[in-house]
């Protein structure tokens, strides 16, 4: 696959293009609205959803606050069960480790389970450079790989494709990767799934090396958990002789019993199912059952930088359910590719700038890819306050400051192009510090409200913003005046600004 996120334009420019793509918007609207309603119903079935949500957040907080302890515990447990643990500081190191491990087997092909971590590291390209073919086996990943495309959704990477487009991709491309699709393939989803089954079965039955991620790693037992639907995960996890799992260090849960929270919240939040069709768990290797060699590659790649930020840290609680994407008005219109990373949507807008830093134009634009409506926080099964982190990261972009980059404390400069915002923030601070000026301004706005234009055609940099927005009508009376009129001057008197 030649798809890459490198050198992609900033979010506003990418979104300006994608929002004009009516087919893309139609596909996204259809898919996200379908899943939204179903998810709400699946969540409603559990009377203790809020308790599960609070417990999930707390369990992840416990893990993150003592991550060094749990990482060492996990390493010991996996090793004791016959697995080999490797540590990767960054994407390049993870890819190098996996490439070496595959080379040692003497194989030149691997089958892959859908994995966000290897998408993040660009593993397939690294393997291709080493002459190793990586076959994606998740249906949506297969669609993306055959279409020489990029994933646009965490759960359903090909969500931007509708059934007609998928049929065309299968017809045109399957033959060059292996077993071709039937000539008369229709756009019926069941027929498309059947074509994928036949195409991939050949790969599974011959596979000697499997590559996966994991949804959870249990520190106390060294158990890995993969949650999936199609059975391609089971194929990759059990048929090959060698299994290599690349997993972010934040994927730990402390105990086996702790899974009781996430195995209830993840499927319902993600695919709106009571339970996903297949969940596999394995601990190291088992004699004569599944792979005889198991390698776990623990991936940092910016996660410890996010961990160092006490506000941004909560993004590492994410269990990749994608509920926040499905409810986001910005995602629905802009599509996943505009976010320029493996992690699109609201969670991507707070995760990517923390994993990669905010120094590139794209990454600095991501915290702005939101209207701060808060729907993402409402649906998050581990209660990540995404709007809070977005605002925090905007401040970092505009003001600069001390951050951790690759483990080193670094002072970053304010990003270019935010001078207007800095000026507005300074002005706002001054106004709120000077109540008399604020009141005068509000009264003036109320009295002249009929004169306020519906749109404010700003010149220069402000034009992009003002072009697509209506101005709200100023209220006929400011809240302060209303309070004064209804509650009397006694209650308002403590502001120390009598007239």
């Amino acid at each position: 696959m030649s798809g890459t996120y490198l050198g992609m334009p900033s979010f506003p420019r990418a979104a300006a293009a994608s929002t004009r793509d009516m087919r893309l918007r139609g596909n996204l609207r259809h898919a996200t609205h379908t899943i939204r309603a179903k998810r709400a119903k699946a969540v409603e079935e559990l009377g203790d959803w809020e308790q599960l949500r609070a417990a999930g957040a707390a369990l992840k907080n416990r893990t993150l606050r003592h991550l060094d302890h749990y990482l060492e515990q996990l390493e010991a447990a996996v090793s004791a069960a016959g697995g080999h643990v490797h540590w990767a500081c960054d994407a390049e190191e993870a890819n190098r480790i996996v490439t070496e491990l595959v080379r040692e087997t003497g194989e030149s092909e691997v089958v892959k389970v859908k994995s966000m971590a290897t998408q993040e590291t660009g593993l397939n390209d690294a393997l291709a450079e080493a002459g190793i073919s990586a076959y994606e086996t998740d249906l949506a990943e297969l669609i993306v790989q055959l279409g020489d495309d990029l994933p646009s959704h965490i759960l359903v990477p090909a969500i931007h494709r509708n059934r007609d487009q998928i049929r065309d991709i299968f017809r045109e491309k399957m033959g060059s990767w292996g077993r071709a699709a039937p000539r008369n393939l229709s756009d019926d989803p069941a027929e498309l799934a059947e074509a994928a089954r036949l195409h991939l079965r050949e790969k599974f039955l011959n596979a000697k090396v499997g590559v996966s991620g994991a949804n959870f790693m249990v520190a106390e037992s060294g158990t890995l958990v993969v949650v999936e639907s199609e059975g391609n995960g089971r194929m990759c996890l059990t048929l090959p002789e060698t299994l290599i799992s690349v997993v972010g260090i934040e994927k730990i849960v402390p105990t086996w019993q702790d899974l009781e929270v996430f195995l209830q919240t993840l499927p319902r939040s993600s695919t709106a199912e009571r339970m996903n069709p297949y969940t596999s768990t394995w601990t190291g290797t088992t004699d004569e059952d599944g792979p005889s060699a198991f390698h776990l590659v623990l991936l940092d790649n910016g996660r410890t930088d996010a961990l160092a930020d006490t506000v941004g840290r909560q993004a590492l609680r994410c269990i990749r359910c994608s509920a926040c994407l499905n409810v986001c008005p910005v995602y629905e219109r802009a599509g996943g590719h505009a976010y320029g990373s493996a992690y699109p949507g609201p969670i991507g807008a707070i995760l990517t700038p923390q994993l990669r830093g905010v120094q590139s134009e794209l990454d600095a634009s991501l915290p702005y890819a939101s209207s701060l409506c808060g729907a993402c926080y409402e649906v998050c099964p581990v209660a990540i306050d995404i709007p809070e982190v977005l605002v925090h990261l905007r401040e970092r972009v505009v003001e600069g400051g001390t951050v951790t980059v690759r483990g080193q404390k670094t002072t970053i400069k304010p990003a270019k192009g935010h001078a207007a915002e800095r000026a507005v923030m300074r002005a706002a601070r001054w106004t709120f510090d000077h109540p008399r000026a604020l009141r005068a301004g509000q009264r003036l706005a109320a009295r002249s409200r009929r004169l306020t234009p519906r749109r404010l055609p700003l010149p220069g940099a402000g034009k992009a913003w003002s072009d697509s927005r209506d101005l709200p009508r100023p209220a006929p009376e400011s809240f302060r005046d209303w309070w004064l009129r209804n509650r009397g001057p006694d209650t308002a008197g403590h502001e120390g600004d009598p007239e």
Partner: protein, 215 residues
Amino acid sequence: MNSRETVLGRVRRALADVPRDEGPDETHVPRDYWTSHAERSDAERLDLLAENLADYRALVHRCGAGELPATIAELLRARGARSVVAPPGIPEEWLPAEVERVADDPAASPRELDALDSVVTGCAVAVAETGTIVLDAGEDQGRRRISLVPDHHICVVRAPEQIVDSVPQALRRLDPARPQTWISGPSATSDIELDRVEGVHGPRTLEVIITSPEP
């Protein structure tokens, strides 16, 4: 410094705000979520399991323990199965004589397994609230791959003792050291327009036989 020390060092520096004497268990985790979502009798639990299995397109059959061989024979006949893989814990008398019984052999290649028509297994536990059966490679369940490669899976659940209400209760019964497969309906995908379609790589037909002791 190797990468292990680098990553662990970064983690420790990142957590400078966490008091050094704070133990992992000191982060409070509220456990007031429920261990099951209703009080149920054995019969109600069985009904809920059957209902939720069927909701995700598993085919559910109920029979008395004595009728089990006849029920399995009927399902295999209806399917036209000529070969069936069965782990050692499945009694001889459960399988009809006219169907070739193939052992769960670690030396067999995946391709040989792919040529078989059906698989018959037991299970470790079944979860009523989610319609899930859990296999943990026990004697009557075999290696993970035998319930994966053949296209037709018959799974026997013994009521009432193997059925629990909920996910928390199921986890308590299971040993993480054993490889497990949690199965909720036949293989499926939501990858085309987020619409669920049954039948991708795992068995496209899942039949669950729930047996109860004779009255």
